[in-house]
Symmetry: C2
Subunit: 268 residues, 2 copies
């Protein structure tokens, strides 16, 4: 099995991929949208995509990619994220900090407290930041412990994230929805017409009346107008379950658009 | 009246501040949390804070600041955002693009299409990026048209955001909730205990049964655990309105925590 993920080696996506399937062959891409496209084109069997972080919330760009392309969520993995500050030299030599925008955001307060207004440079991944930091003592990277070994860097600080407890939820995307297990979740996206009072309440009622538990609800802009939203909803159960099907059929009649993003075994 | 806002001169916050009150004296701060603190300490009468963008969604960090500090939303302003690429020299000389992380995100696709993997450097504001770009021909800034004039830069590209239509909603924060007009909105934040099926449905029911229209609902992580959320809700009406009070009283009995962030006249 071939798994596509954000590269190069040493990203937190790699940690998620290993947690999902240690035996899979990993193929690295330069961006998450390239991972999604590789799944669509069947260049890989599955892709691993970070979707939500416990400090920063949903990763909007990646949620948007799931709706833009025709892929299905087939699994999920939760990975603890411990950011390290890596560099070739000493703390006193650092003039810029490089990382993925998500990692910079997860560490923004700690960096500000420790380094004041130091230059923060966005990279396409934490591992690429580590690779770049290995070229100059004036650059440090926020990346995984694994990246330190991989790119020959010193670990100057550990647990740089704003709060020690920090988790990222990754989804595994493929082309088909896996068979039901007894512990599944389903992700859907619903578009509700603007200015239709009570529309969201109606939708949630279809779940509540069937005793379907929602584990997440999140609004994302449609990008058309301010105040015009899509709703991403995660619920317990599989799309093949009778009561989930009943709820989705009812919602389809009420909503402007409904798409099932996938059903998959819950992460532990 | 003194208005606090993100500086230096030339930010989109300045545009919002001028739209809200052209006659106010403006006081510039280095970060949005400094603006919020200045309101708390009564160093300024009001503060102007960007809260939501039509392409990128809610600005989580700023939503979080509104709940962390004891301030009240007293107004809102919507400003069209048109990003320009500004530099001292020519496009061919640019080696790095500087801007606020939000502006970089709003322009990420356009930048990638035009410049590939060019270095993107995060600054605390678009205007500060313009100021820095005036120091070297190798740096360009994504900033407002006004910043070009202010910092002596050329406008190399206009409308650099990923989609032409792009709006940011700012809230005006102060210490007290203004008197009702006939066209108000109220913002609240509610904490619902995790794994309480139907809890959100119950909350929305209190609004639906009273015919109160919700204009926004957004989940934010509590930062304690993955899957543990606060809900930010905007609704039509003023906290002094009888039916809004009825709904809030009912919700207070059901929710783990309810806070009214403010009531204020709707932006046009």
């Amino acid at each position: 099995m071939i798994l596509g993920l954000l590269g190069p080696e040493g990203t937190f996506s790699e940690k998620a991929a290993n947690k999902w399937d240690l035996t899979a062959e990993l193929r690295y891409f330069e961006s998450v949208s390239d991972v999604v496209k590789a799944v669509v084109d069947e260049d890989v069997d599955y892709g691993v995509v970070p979707i939500e972080n416990s400090l920063e919330g949903s990763i909007g760009m990646n949620l948007d990619a799931l709706i833009e392309y025709d892929v299905k969520i087939a699994g999920e993995v939760v990975v603890p994220i411990r950011h390290c500050l890596l560099a070739k030299g000493e703390i006193s030599e650092i003039k810029a900090i490089l990382s993925h925008p998500q990692a910079l955001a997860q560490c923004r307060h700690s960096i500000k407290n420790r380094f004041g207004d130091i230059e923060m440079i966005e990279m396409t991944s934490t591992a690429l930041a580590a690779k770049r930091a290995s070229e100059s003592k004036e650059m440090a990277a926020i990346a995984s412990e694994k990246s330190a070994a991989k790119y020959g860097l010193n670990i100057l600080l550990r647990d740089l994230q704003n709060q020690k407890e920090n988790y990222t939820r990754f989804v595994v995307i493929g082309k088909i929805i896996p068979e039901p297990t007894s512990k599944d979740k389903t992700s859907i996206v619903v578009y509700l017409q603007k200015d239709r009072p009570g529309a969201l309440y109606g939708i949630l009622g279809e779940f509540a009346s069937r005793n379907i538990n929602l584990t997440k609800i999140e609004s994302r802009p449609t990008k058309k107008a301010l105040g015009d939203y899509l709703f991403y909803i995660d619920l317990e159960g599989h799309v093949m379950d009778e009561k989930v099907q009943g709820a989705l059929k009812a919602i389809e009649r009420e909503a402007g658009m409904l798409r099932v993003l996938g059903s998959y075994p819950k992460a532990e």
